[in-house]
Symmetry: C2
């Protein structure tokens, strides 16, 4: 870096600014001279040395619950779309629906030099996160609410949108509901959605699909048993898109069940569910927008405007959304 | 770190080894004493300082072509499953099917302190990658072959498996094929698959779906037009799962086309396509295993055994695979 500064006839601080992309703080001529010197000397900035000086890697960690779900990948895409335009790079960490793994990832993020963290948490409480992330880096929480958190959150209106959908089917004469979900009590998203359904329906059966690993045949059998034992008009309500695609869509495609007696709704994130089952009225979340909103807030904090963006930010879901 | 060493009554080098997880190089008692000292002093290892000493972040970059595709997310899951067990963390970079973006990601990986790189490249030549990644970090290439590359590669047997599937349908009396693919010439995977089909079929139509953004209605219309103008027994061949799910599966589900005249095959990566369309004979790749194999090779190189694992490694695809 000294050699580059010397050859370009500028200060080391100016080379450092150049390397951090702060080009607005120098003339075009100066930037061009530094670039030339770098090329001439074939200089590769040593990341660790650079980080010691600047405390910035220009990389933001995006830790998601499970990239098996479109929600998580879309969230990452949305965050990246904003980060990119501010010359940050987003990298994805996958907690893989495993709390122990989430702890390890957060620890790794703490140990390394990321500029910020967008987190779709598995854990329910902010304390668990603070135990791992001891450094004072900006954090924005996505999708799931945390207890005792002072970080900004960007979430879907889970309760209201579930209630809206349930009400629609109740008014259409449906008196029972079968809910497909992982452990309802384990995540704020599921609790809120379930509460919205409970507000409308009295007769509720729940098929509990373990998040980490599940026996497909067993889930199928359980669902078929509940379906076969009722004559009432019954709503099948998947609390996430994967359960709709894996367990419910095949029943309709293969005409196993009567579409007069059974109808379906689900929280869905992509165009895929809609393309496959255009007749189903879905609750469409917008994970891309949630990710983008998280990144916008994080950028504000990184730019020193954090105090204006604290608190809870709602990205509404749409019922019966059309492509 | 000096304070920790002093309190634990060990050398700074021993603390450094402890922080890098090299616990086999000290007694359990020593490790416990250091841990106690760290807790007492509430010491957070400064990542940049630590990296200056150890040159290791224990993080491996996994740069994939596009996480819209299951292939990429499964590849990442597979890599992580191996990396984890060797105490590395994998982070995902998404090139988003954009060559310019891939360049920027590689540059960011070069500038920061990752221990290795598993790359599903968009570019065709190793030179493009070398222009960005100037540091001498271990690289393993996944899924797509590179020209002029000396890095180990882990790929599917694209040509042979496409030819195997095409032969099956040709023998069953199918005389035409409609191929759904992004630009066939742009990726080695697609070129190889197409070559396998060309070896069997003479009458081939190609629907070219632009990778970065496509008009769904337009693709649908183009497909319907090709379907309606033929009376021959025709195979619909999707070179990736997404095109099967988005464009072909809905036609069968809604019974728009005659299953006697038209049959389908596709390169598919997940159980989803199979769950939705159990009657379709798919070519099942194993991206999880490809990712895991890449990570195994990378770990070998990181452990200094790189010379034994150079060259091309094939993970075969299975035709008519059953869950």
């Amino acid at each position: 870096m000294k050699d580059v500064a010397s050859l370009a006839n500028v200060s080391i601080a100016t080379v450092s600014r150049y390397l951090n992309g702060e080009l607005n703080r120098m003339s075009t001529q100066t930037a061009a001279t530094i670039k030339e010197a770098i090329t001439k000397l074939n200089y590769v900035p040593n990341s660790a040395a650079r980080q010691m000086v600047t405390h910035s890697s220009k990389i933001v960690a995006v830790a998601v619950a499970n990239i098996d779900d479109y929600f998580s990948t879309e969230l990452f895409k949305g965050a990246n779309s904003i980060l990119e335009s501010h010359h940050y790079t987003g990298v994805l960490f996958d907690s893989d629906s495993d709390n122990q793994r989430e702890n390890e990832l957060l620890n790794s993020i703490n140990q390394n030099n990321f500029d910020g963290l967008i987190l779709q948490p598995l854990t329910d409480t902010a304390d668990t996160i603070r135990q791992q992330v001891k450094r004072d880096i900006p954090i924005v929480v996505a999708d799931r609410e945390l207890e005792k958190s002072s970080w900004p959150e960007v979430i879907t209106d889970n309760y209201a949108s579930a209630q809206r959908a349930a009400t629609y089917f109740y008014r259409a004469g449906f008196t029972r509901v079968i809910v497909l979900s992982s452990d309802v009590s384990a995540a704020s998203t599921r609790r809120e959605r379930f509460r919205g359904i409970q507000d409308v329906f009295e007769k509720i059966d729940v098929i509990n699909i373990p998040e980490e690993s599940y026996q497909r045949q067993q889930v199928k059998a359980e669902l078929m048993q509940l379906i076969s034992k009722t004559n009432e008009k019954t709503l099948l309500f998947a609390l996430k898109e994967r359960w709709l695609l894996e367990f419910i869509a095949p029943l309709f495609v293969s005409k196993v069940i009567d579409p007069q007696q059974f109808q379906v709704t689900a929280f869905a994130d992509t165009r895929l569910a809609h393309a496959l089952t255009p007749e189903i009225k879905l609750i469409h979340q917008n994970p891309f927008l949630i990710g983008a909103s998280c990144a916008e807030i994080l950028i504000e904090i990184l730019n020193g405007n954090g105090t204006q963006v604290r608190g809870k930010n709602i990205v509404p879901a749409e019922f019966d959304w059309r492509d």
